[in-house]
Assembly symmetry: C2
Homo-oligomer: 283 residues x 2
């Protein structure tokens, strides 16, 4: 880890601690858990940082021959109809993708159509702006999980992150993690809208809040996953956390580059093409 | 009203009635109110249609010299920070806009900053895809209203509308209207993504569901309000319902054209420019 990253992590820790101490915070509704203890938060961030010494030159695990098992087969455009969803789920069963990733309006249908298969039905929450209230995100999560969502991909509060309202960012993720009741939560940073400091802070806060994955992009934010961003995120969150590369990953080669850089999951709508290409040895 | 429009309205009515009768609907959670009675729905749609005879050549009311009182001063981009929100609310107080329109993460701040003024704090819900679950939209609405939102601008379930799942579209709006507890609900159609039939059906369903306004666009959907769409919507919903023209309304002239065509509210981020231009007699 570079000294620059280390300094930024220290800054995030410091600022969160100050916020937690400040008057303003007394009006924020409390959450179960010990996150309000600055020492715990600091330890959590530091733990991530300590592990990072071993991560420069981090070696990715073996890349599977068939990429399907690490791809979230994704359909999020608002014009998608029931028919489109049926096709998505059929493809997911046929190719044995890790999951289908859908908007919460479709979770009942996805759960039903994937029954008896190994494919997980997963949902996006607060999507794609991340600017819905924490109550709305938590409620959307609770409802989706109750209906059978196996994982939750939430969008970080981008405006709060940019305004360095780190306690708000943390609280937002914490409440979604709590609402997910043990289901893994991915935090979408929307990297195309962030500078380097914001990417680092967003990754550190996701980890501190108990998310299972950091995810790069919504696919709606004017940019997607890059190898550089995956490397940066990996260097911040350490080796154990999941990273999902999403947005513009359109070929087997691109997918493998992301895995090599440290990603552990791929989000794509071109999943069938990626797998076909990969199996034909063309990627 | 043209025979074509009349036929489409008849089709919407027919299809909703059939859906309501079908088996599938027994699994849809029931809502208070009598909408499940097809006769009532039909009457409601028909009532809209009957009034329309008088609407061809509909005359707009007098257009105010100062447009501020009918403009929702809007900031919805996800990168907006606390500072941007403070500026928005300051401008709204200075120019006496009808409201500020914000994402639900900012409602507390908007309520606080607008206290003692005539400017309403209003929110978008299920924004901008409209593909969040009905439970999520209703919960987001309930929370926003509890915190002080004076109006709710929800996005219609675009995929369900395109798939002609009209009962689902209706139910979705109905539950948000119920959650808003009397606060006016606007239904955003996202006209740029719809064909003529879908615009008509979306308008009719919004009216049938008890919404106060039909609104054209999110500003994120690749298109905005047009004079033709405002005319079409007005011809479907009758003279009493509100219509909000939003998306790309950037000048006093454009705003006045929308009002002339039948709009009663304008959503804009260029509101200060519009009002300045209008007051200077340049629009």
């Amino acid at each position: 880890m570079s000294t620059e990253t280390e300094l930024l992590l220290e800054q995030v820790t410091e600022q969160v601690r100050n916020r937690l101490r400040s008057q303003r915070l007394t009006s924020v509704p409390s959450v179960t858990g010990t996150w309000q203890d600055p020492a715990e938060l600091r330890m959590c961030l530091a733990a991530g940082a300590q592990r990072l010494g071993t991560l420069d030159g981090h070696e990715a695990g073996p890349i599977p021959q068939n990429l399907a098992s690490i791809i979230d087969h994704t359909l999020l455009k608002p014009t998608a109809t029931r028919k489109d969803l049926e096709k998505l789920c059929r493809e997911a069963r046929d190719y044995k993708f890790a999951s289908v990733c859908v908007n919460t309006t479709w979770i009942d249908l996805a759960v039903k159509l994937l029954k008896g298969s190994t494919v997980m039905p997963i949902c996006v929450v607060g999507f794609p702006l991340g600017a819905a209230s924490t109550a709305a995100k938590a409620c959307e999560t609770r409802d989706a999980v109750r209906r059978g969502a196996a994982e939750i991909d939430m969008v970080i509060n981008i405006g709060a992150l940019k305004g360095r309202d780190y306690d708000q960012v943390l609280q937002d993720i914490r409440e979604v993690v709590a609402a997910a009741r043990g289901r893994p939560v991915k935090v979408i940073l929307e990297t195309a809208m962030l500078n380097r400091e914001e990417k680092i802070a967003g990754s550190a806060l996701s980890k501190a809040a108990g998310a299972a994955f950091v995810k790069t992009s919504t696919g709606f934010g004017g940019g997607g996953a890059t190898v550089e961003d995956i490397r940066l995120i990996r260097s911040v969150v350490g080796p154990a956390m999941g990273i999902k590369a999403s947005g513009g990953v359109g070929s087997a080669r691109a997918a493998k580059n992301m895995l090599q850089a440290g990603a552990t999951r791929i989000g794509a709508s071109a999943s069938v093409a990626i797998v076909t290409e990969s199996m034909a040895g063309r990627g």
